[in-house]
Symmetry: D3
C-alpha cells in the first residue's frame, strides 16, 4: 500500500476524533466576562505562540521612593495563556533597604527564588503567630503558604532581584497598609479593629491617601 | 521627601500591579448564562456591599399544612456574592410535629445549628444502610455528609428554628416523594423501581400532583 | 417465592457491592497525622451519630475585656464528622461595642447570619482597597470572600449573637494585631514593613505580649 | 564519544531528578487507613501491572430473584490502581424484566453503555422533579448527573449487559428502599418523613429485613 | 384537610425553594464560548433526555489501514450532558494486529474494559521508565494513570472491542507520532529533541504528512 | 484596666480558638507514606523556617554530554514546605546547543523565565498537532499547558539559565526517549506503536540503556 494512502486513512481515523477533542488550553479572551473559573477561551484559530509569552521581565519595574521596590506581574491579564492553569509568575526588585510591606495573597501559594542580592523574608502563622523568617542569598528559594501575612526586605547592600511563582493565574495581593489606610474606612473603625492610636491612623491615612 | 511625593510614588508602584490583579470575588450576574463553575461575574464597578448581604432571615417562611415547616434559601440566586465561593446559607423552621421529609443534597455537605426548639435529625449511610440519628436542642449542631438521605423532625413541643450551611453556592435539594410522585413517571415504573404497592403509588401521586 | 428467600437473595446481591463501596464519610481520627486532605478516617465500626454532633453552641463563649467578644468554633477538631467535607461552623458573640478585630481566613469563605442584635461588618478588597461594609440586624446575612481582611463591630446597644459558616473544615484565622505584635518579630522589621511608628509598635507589642 | 559514556552521563542527569519526582500513580494500600483523598500509596517497589488490572467482568454476577439483576464493581477496593484517579468501572446485567431500583450515587457522575439488550433508564431532576428517561439499545450510552435518583429496567426480551463508569474511585450507591427499610429506623419516623402508609412500611421492612 | 389543599400548600413551600436551586446539570451549549470549566449551560427549558444520550457505539468506527483500529468518542461535544461532570466514554476497535500507537491523555485518567477479543496494553512510568503491561481478554479491565505514555495492541486473532472511560468530559489525546511528524516542526528540531536519525524523521514526516 | 490583664483576657479568647485551628501548612514528613493528596504533615512543633527554604539553586547542575543541560528540582522532596500547596520550582541550565529533549509533565502546568541567554521553546497541541514555538531572550517567560509534549533548545551562543515553576509540588517528567528506549519494552512493541524502524530502535535502546 502506498504511503500516501496510509496517510489519508490514518488522518481519516484521527480527524473523527480531533473534532471531539478538548482544547489543550484556554487562552484568555480578556475582553469577555470572567466567571469563577477564569476568562472565556479565545477562539483556537486566533491563538498564537505569543499568547504563551511574556516579555516584560528584562528590566526592573519603576521603584517607589517609599518602598524602594518594584513588582512586575505576569498574571493572566498579561499572559493570557495562563488562563485556568493554576500558575503565574512575577519579577520583583528591591534596592538596598527596599521592602515589600506586610501583605497576603488570598488563597494562593507563593514561592520565589533570589536571583541577585540578599533578602530577608518571613511569614507569620495564623495558629500561634509564629514567625518563619530567613535571610536568603542568590540561589535560594522560599515558600509562603496561602493567605498568610508575609514580607520581604532587602537586607543586603546591593539591589536584589527575585522571580516569583504563584499557584493561581489571578493571585490577589492585599497590602495591609493600603487595606487599612488607602480608602474611606472611618478612623474610628480602624481604631476599634486595629488598636492603633488615633494619631497613627491619621498619619498613615495621609501617607497612603485615605479619607475619613 | 514630602509625604505627598511618597504617596504618588507608592501609588504608582501599586497601580501597575492593580491592573493585573484577580477580582477578589465574582459576584453573580444572574442574568448571564451559567456554566459548570457558576454565573459570570458582575462588573466590579457595579458591585456594592449589598451584593454580599441577604436580609430575608428575620422571620420564618410560609409553612405548609402537610409538613408544617418552611425553608428560606440564601443561595447564589438570592445572595450573588456567594458565586464560586463554595458556601451558602438557609433558615429552616418547623412547628411542633413539623418535618423536612426524606431528601438529599446531590454533592453538597450540610451542617446546621438549632437556634430554638428541639429537633431529631438523621441520615442513612449508603454502605450498610445504618441510621445516624440524634435529638438536638438549641445550641447543638449536626453534619450531613454529601448526597445521603436525611430528614429532620421537630420532636419538641414548640416551634424550632434552624440555621443551615451548605458547602456549595448552588446546593440541590431532592425530596424523594416529589421525585417519585410529582411528575409523569409511569406508576408501573415507580412500582418496579421502588417495590411500593399500586394503591400506595396512586395515593401519593394524588397527594403530590403526579400523573400516569 | 417466600419473602425470606427474596431478602436473602437481594441481600446477597448487595453484599457483594457493599464491600466495594466508598465510605460515605471520613470521620476524623484526630489522633492520626494530618495530611493536605485532612485527618485519617476513624474506622467506620467506631463511628456513631455523636461524631456528627457538636453541643457547644448553647451559650456564648468567654469574652475578653479587650474585645468584648467570644468565638466558639465547631471545626473538624471539635466536630470530627466535618473531616474532608468543605464546611464548618462557629458561634460568635459581641457585647455592645464589642469587636472582632481585623483578620482574614486564609483560603476560606465566610458567611454569617445575625441571630440577635446589630453588627456592622466590612471587608476590604485587595484590588482597589475598597471597603464593602454594612450594618446588619437580626435576620441578615453577610458574605466575606476568601482571604480578605474584614472586621465585625457590635454597633447596637445590646449583645449580638452570630452564627458563622466557613467553606473549610479547618479554616485558619489570622488576626493582624496578633500576627504583628504577639511574637518575636523584631520591632525594626515591623516598622519597615508596616510604616507604624516605633512607639506604637512598642505599645502594641506590650499589649499583645510580643518581644523584641 | 562512546555511546556507553553518553548513557552514563545522561543517566546521571536523570537520576538526580528521578529521586525528586512524584509518583505517577498512588496504588491503594487497602490495608492502610483511608483519608478524605483515598488510601495511602503502596510502595512503588511493590506495584506491578496487576495492580492496574481487574479480571472479574467476564461473566455476569449472581442475580437475585427480587431484582433479576447483578452488579460487579471495579472500584478502588477491587482495582487499587484507581486510587486518587477520579474514575471507576462496573458491569451490570439485567434479565428481562430485571431492574436496578431507585438509587443515587452521592457526589459521583455515572455514564454507561449498553453492550447487549435493551434497557430503559431514567433520572429525576431535583429542581422541578422532571423525569429524563430513554429506552436504550445496544450501542447507546446514557449519563446520570451526580447525586440524582435514577433507575434502570430491562424493557427488552433478552438479558441486557451494561458497562458503567463513575467519576470517582469510590462512588457510593444509595438504594432508597434499603435506606428506608433495611435498618432500625422507627416506622413512625419512616412514615412521618416519607408519607407512606403504616402497612406499606411494615411490608417493606419485612421484605428488606428492617426492624422497628 | 382535603388532599388538594395539602398539595397546594406543599407545593407552595417547595416553589419558593425551587427557584433558588442550582441546576442539577449543565448541559453544554456547544455554540457558546468555552471557559476553563467547560461550555456554558443550555437553558434548562430546552434540555431533553436526548442531551444525556449517545447513540453511536453500535458499530465500530472506520479503521485505517495503517493502524487497523478505530475510535469513537462520546466526549462533551458528542454527549453534551457530560459538561462539567468529570467523565466521558469511547468505543475502540482493533483488528487482529491493530494498534493504538503511543499516546497520552494530558491530565485525564483512562480505564477500559475489553468486551471482545484479546489486547495487550501497557503504560510507562515517568519516574523510572518502567513498563506496566498486561495481555487482557474479554472481561478484563485496565487503568492508565493520567498523562503517561501508553499503547494498546490487538495481540489476539480476532477483532477486539473495548469500552473506554476517561475522568474528563474533554480528555485530550496526544499521539506522539502525530505531534512529532504531522506538522511543520523543523527536522533539525525533531532531531535535536528526539535523537532520531535524519532519514527516519524524513520518512515519518512523509508518512504522517509533516513538512520542513 | 491594666495592660497585663487585657493581654491575659485576649489571649484566653484566642487560645480557645487556636486549638481548633487548621494547620496553616502541612510540611511534608517525607518518611511517611504518600497518599493521593501528598505526604503526611510533619508535627508543627518540629517545623522550622528551613522547611520552607531551598538552597540549591546557586549553581547549575551537572550537565550530561548528550544533552548539555542540567536540571535542579525544588519539588516537595527537596522543599517539604511545598506539600499540598500546588506549586514547585526548578532551575534549568543549557550550554550553547544544549537541549531538554521532548517530554511532558503529566497533569502539571509549567511556566519559566529566561534569566540568561537565549532559548527556543515549543509545545505541540494534541488537537491539531500545531507547534507553538518561540525564541526567548533573557527577561522573557513561556507557558506550557499541562501534559503536552514540549522541548527547549539553547539556540544562543552562550549558556542559558532558566527558572521554572510547576503547578504541582510533585510534577512528573516523562521524557519520550527514556519511556521508549530505557527499559525492557520489546522492540517489536516499540516498532508497532511508534512506526520507527527496527535499526533506529536498536540504536536508541543501546544509547539509553534499554533491553529486548
Amino acid at each position: 500500500m502506498a504511503l500516501k494512502t496510509l496517510v489519508i486513512l490514518f488522518s481519516f481515523l484521527l480527524v473523527s476524533s480531533e473534532s471531539a477533542l478538548a482544547q489543550d488550553f484556554c487562552v484568555a479572551d480578556t475582553s469577555g466576562p470572567q466567571n469563577p473559573a477564569g476568562f472565556p477561551c479565545k477562539s483556537p484559530d486566533k491563538v498564537t505562540a505569543n499568547d504563551f509569552v511574556f516579555s516584560g521581565f528584562a528590566n526592573p519595574g519603576n521603584k517607589s521612593a517609599l518602598v524602594k521596590s518594584s513588582f512586575i506581574p505576569a498574571f493572566v491579564t498579561q499572559l493570557p495563556g495562563l488562563n485556568g492553569l493554576g500558575l503565574s509568575l512575577a519579577r520583583a526588585d528591591l534596592d538596598a533597604g527596599g521592602v515589600f510591606p506586610m501583605h497576603s495573597h488570598p488563597a494562593a501559594t507563593e514561592a520565589f527564588v533570589v536571583v541577585k542580592g540578599t533578602v530577608t523574608a518571613g511569614f507569620i502563622s495564623s495558629t500561634v503567630n509564629k514567625v518563619y523568617s530567613k535571610t536568603l542569598n542568590a540561589g535560594e528559594a522560599f515558600v509562603v503558604p496561602p493567605g498568610l501575612l508575609h514580607y520581604v526586605i532587602n537586607t543586603g547592600k546591593v539591589p536584589a532581584q527575585v522571580f516569583v511563582a504563584f499557584s493561581s493565574p489571578r493571585p490577589g495581593i492585599q497590602l495591609t497598609d493600603l487595606a487599612w489606610f488607602k480608602n474611606d474606612l472611618p478612623s474610628d473603625v480602624v481604631r476599634a479593629t486595629t488598636f492603633l492610636d488615633k494619631d497613627e491612623i491619621k498619619k498613615l491615612k495621609a501617607l497612603f491617601g485615605g479619607t475619613n
